[in-house]
């Protein structure tokens, strides 16, 4: 690389010297700016319109007729929608807890040990991430039906099949995030801890896990967003009597778009965006928790 050349970032130097865009200032070219603006309009306009029209006082969802919160009231009065939303949140929380433990343990095993078949293990771990979701969805559906996974269980247990499916595709993501964090860990800290008489367990709890913490939090938030965002796996693993948010919204959309769907969607959008922003702040290298 070119450490020797004085202007490390020629783009900035040229701007500062000449006060105008240099040849590599692509972000300053008019067509690139228009392109960026158009792309962001394309990405955001549909979501912003969806959110705006959840406050629109009109059944038809087409022209603006004034501000109202009545569709939020309707959404909150809709018992099956609330049930679906609660179920999806419970699934997300439980799947996140299990995924974080499994992902962290797997990351530790892969980071710490050499073992035969390691490359194959890593390959299989990546599979739930790379294969088309529908293949995993139908496989889980067939599996749960064929093993006679009990249906009609009392409430939290009735969500077990969906939760298990969510863990299966969430925990490999957690493992990746945690392992990336562990890559910067100085193993001599563990050795020092053991030399000073700490047991394997004490070392894990007092040295390794505190270091992993930002990775664990980021991984947990990632798992939670993935679980809340999922449609395909939930759609295929939902039994006839379990109501989940995506499946409920899907049937509402199929019967026609209503402002109520917009209101429910807006709540979920805000929830996931908040989670994402927290996760990003925690993943920044200078975040408080990294210290």
């Amino acid at each position: 690389m070119s450490e020797a050349t004085a202007p490390q970032r020629p783009d900035e130097v040229q701007v500062n010297a000449a006060g105008r865009a240099g040849p590599l200032d692509y972000h300053k070219k008019l067509w690139v700016r228009l392109w960026l603006a158009a792309t962001f309009v394309f990405l955001y306009a549909p979501i912003i319109i969806l959110v705006l029209f959840s406050f629109n006082d009109s059944k038809r969802n087409i022209v603006w007729r004034g501000f109202t919160l009545k569709y939020y009231e309707k959404a909150f009065d809709n018992a099956s929608l609330i049930e679906a939303f609660t179920n999806s949140l419970v699934i997300a929380v439980v799947a996140t807890a299990i995924s974080t433990v499994l992902g962290a343990a797997t990351a530790l095993a892969l980071w710490r040990f050499r073992f035969p078949g390691k490359a194959a293990t890593e390959g299989v771990m990546a599979l739930p991430i790379v294969i088309p979701e529908i293949c995993m969805g139908v496989a889980l559906m067939a599996f749960f039906i064929r093993v006679g996974w009990p249906t009609g269980l009392p409430w939290p247990l009735s969500l077990s099949a969906i939760t298990i499916g969510h863990v299966a595709f969430c925990f490999p993501f957690v493992a990746i995030v945690v392992r990336a964090r562990l890559a910067g860990f100085d193993r001599s800290l563990e050795e020092a801890s053991k030399d000073l008489g700490a047991s394997e367990w004490q070392t894990l709890m007092r040295v390794t896990i505190p270091y992993m913490k930002p990775g664990l939090i980021a991984g947990a938030l990632l798992a939670m967003t993935l679980s809340l965002d999922d449609f395909v796996i939930t759609f295929f693993t939902s039994g006839p009597e379990t109501l989940t948010f995506p499946v409920k919204v899907y049937s509402m959309v199929r019967f026609g778009a209503t402002p109520e769907v917009n209101a429910a969607s807006t709540i979920l959008i805000i929830l996931t965006i908040l989670l994402t922003i927290i996760a990003m702040r925690l993943q920044r290298p200078d975040a408080e928790l990294a210290k």
């Binding site: 590599l24 692509y26 095993a109």
Partner: protein
């Protein structure tokens, strides 16, 4: 790194929970439908494993084959569009000043964190006949009409809204909308690492911007382009929600057919065979990438 023999108990305590979960709730279900793909229905819920290849033969009969080809074609078209839209975006982000970069990156990533169903649903309101694209076009049309009338040239015919929804184009637009971040991020990751000295050298030596792009930037960004293409193409190929909600009666993709075999049509062996054809295509693409990746390094 130590070998697992030094601390076998610790090793198994770490690896076993995740490993078992993956085997039980991922590999076993996949193997189960792999076995079903060689079976035939012997009753409403019974599947007899006979080792037959009939499901694979049926999955490739002209009707389903044309749906496979159509899925490949739509996924390829959508991937090409994301590449064309995403490349300048990634370029602008990677050359942006450091204080703008995180904001631009966040703007690219945020929509990806919104539920797939919600984003697809949001697209309906934009594309439908009485949707916002048509409203915008109508306003432009009326403006042009008024301008022409003002000039005394005559009037335009009445505005006919475009049918943007329930066709293949809507499916392509939906896939582009949903998977664009998957293209921009790997492109950004390679463009960010690009040694700017090469670009300066090219420009100093008299090559224009276009030639510099074509012979310096694009070849150096190849690993990112390959990753982005794969990250968009694979989920696009298996999509069923986007084609289900935005497509028309003839925009059925292979994902929709698989879904129907497992739900309404209740023909698991055929659906299983189709899923595995889809998986084999995925593995083929991944193998091709690692093969191509070898001469990049």
């Amino acid at each position: 790194m130590e070998t697992w023999r030094q601390q076998p108990l610790v090793f198994w305590a770490f690896l076993l929970p995740g490993g078992l979960w993956l085997v039980l709730f991922f590999l076993v279900p996949l193997s189960l439908i792999w076995i079903f793909s060689f079976g035939e229905r012997s009753g409403p819920v019974d599947i007899l494993i006979t080792g037959t290849l009939a499901n694979y033969i049926e999955a490739l009969d002209p009707l389903y084959l044309s749906i496979f080809l159509k899925s490949l074609w739509i996924a390829a078209a959508a991937t090409a569009v994301t590449l064309i839209i995403g490349f300048p975006v990634a370029l602008a982000v990677s050359f942006a000043p450091p204080r703008l970069k995180p904001i631009l990156l966040l703007l690219v990533i945020l929509p990806f964190w919104t539920n797939l169903l919600i984003r697809t649903y949001a697209m309906i309101a934009v594309l439908r006949t009485r949707g916002y694209v048509n409203f915008g076009l109508e306003a432009l049309w009326d403006g042009a009409d008024a301008a022409l009338a003002g000039l005394g040239i005559g009037a335009l015919p009445r505005f006919q809204p475009l049918t943007l929804l329930y066709n293949d184009a809507a499916v392509v637009i939906g896939i582009v909308y949903v998977y664009l971040p998957f293209m921009v991020l790997p492109l950004y990751a390679t463009l960010e690492r690009l040694d700017r000295a090469y670009l300066e050298a090219s420009l100093d030596l008299g090559a224009g911007q276009i030639r510099t792009m074509a012979s310096i930037v694009v070849p150096l960004a190849k690993p990112g382009i390959v990753s982005g293409v794969i990250l968009v193409f694979i989920p696009a190929l298996g999509t069923f929600l986007i084609s289900d909600l935005l497509g028309g009666p003839d925009s059925q993709l292979i994902g929709n057919v698989i879904e129907r075999q497992f739900k309404a049509a209740n023909n698991w062996p055929l659906g299983a065979a189709m899923s595995f054809i889809l998986l084999y295509i995925t593995f083929g693409i991944l193998a091709l990438r690692s093969y191509l990746g070898r001469d990049d390094v």
